[in-house]
């Protein structure tokens, strides 16, 4: 079964440092999403791409977060500088249409 690949699986970084996460969606899925999930809460959408274009980044803290999907395939989410409150699971998902998203295993970020 096709999977969404994410790396790294775990990341520990000091506050004020830069950190980046990578996602490779299922082949052929034009839509890619980055979600943040704080422990004990549901995933919150940060950014949505359709091919290489940003469709929705209304919840992305743009002063420190950036996301790109240059060739419309894989994507990178960056945080600079990281803050203690950014500690969370960062989940990438992709979909072919609106019928069900496939999530990757996520990157667990700890900011110390």
């Amino acid at each position: 079964e096709a999977e969404v690949a994410q790396s790294p699986r775990y990341k520990i970084t000091e506050k004020s440092q830069a950190v980046a996460f990578w996602c490779d969606p299922i082949s052929g899925h034009a839509t890619l999403y980055w979600y943040r999930q704080i422990l004990g809460q549901g995933p919150e959408l940060l950014v949505q791409f359709q091919d290489e274009s940003v469709v929705d980044d209304s919840q992305l803290p743009k002063d420190r977060f950036s996301a790109e999907r240059l060739k419309g395939v894989d994507s990178t989410l960056k945080i600079q500088p990281a803050e203690l409150g950014d500690s969370a699971m960062y989940l990438c998902a992709s979909s072919l249409n609106d019928y069900g998203y496939t999530f990757g295993s996520g990157t667990r970020l700890t900011v110390v």
């Binding site: 999403y33 004990g40 919150e44 959408l45 949505q48 929705d56 069900g100 998203y101 999530f103």
Partner: protein, 108 residues
């Protein structure tokens, strides 16, 4: 934007018993999706409901969409230890917005 509220937040179930978790909205939903997240895992898509009053079954899981399309429920019969995890409902309106989830634990 629209938010879906899930109750209860936690559900402790004796193995073999049934339980129901609910997902409510103050506004009409175009469709509702359910996901399961095992401890330490990632959300996995279970089902999508679109039609008013729709009922779908997956083995011991029964999903229902309310007549007014403002609520949904997930009913699990004969709970097993494999049912442990957090069940999220999510409303789709050009993007998927998740509720806070119901975390299920099972007593053997």
């Amino acid at each position: 934007g629209q938010q879906v509220m899930q109750i209860p937040q936690y559900q402790h179930v004796q193995e073999g018993e049934d339980f129901t978790t609910y997902c409510n909205s103050s506004t009409t939903l175009s469709n509702i999706q359910w996901y399961k997240q095992r401890p330490g895992g990632h959300p996995v898509f279970l089902i999508q409901l679109v039609k008013s009053g729709e009922v779908k079954k997956q083995k011991r899981l029964t999903f229902q969409f309310g007549e007014a399309k403002k609520n949904s429920s997930l009913h699990i019969t004969a709970t097993q230890t494999t049912d442990v995890g957090t069940y999220f409902c999510a409303q789709y309106d050009y993007k998927l917005s998740f509720g806070a989830g119901t975390t299920v634990t099972v007593r053997a």
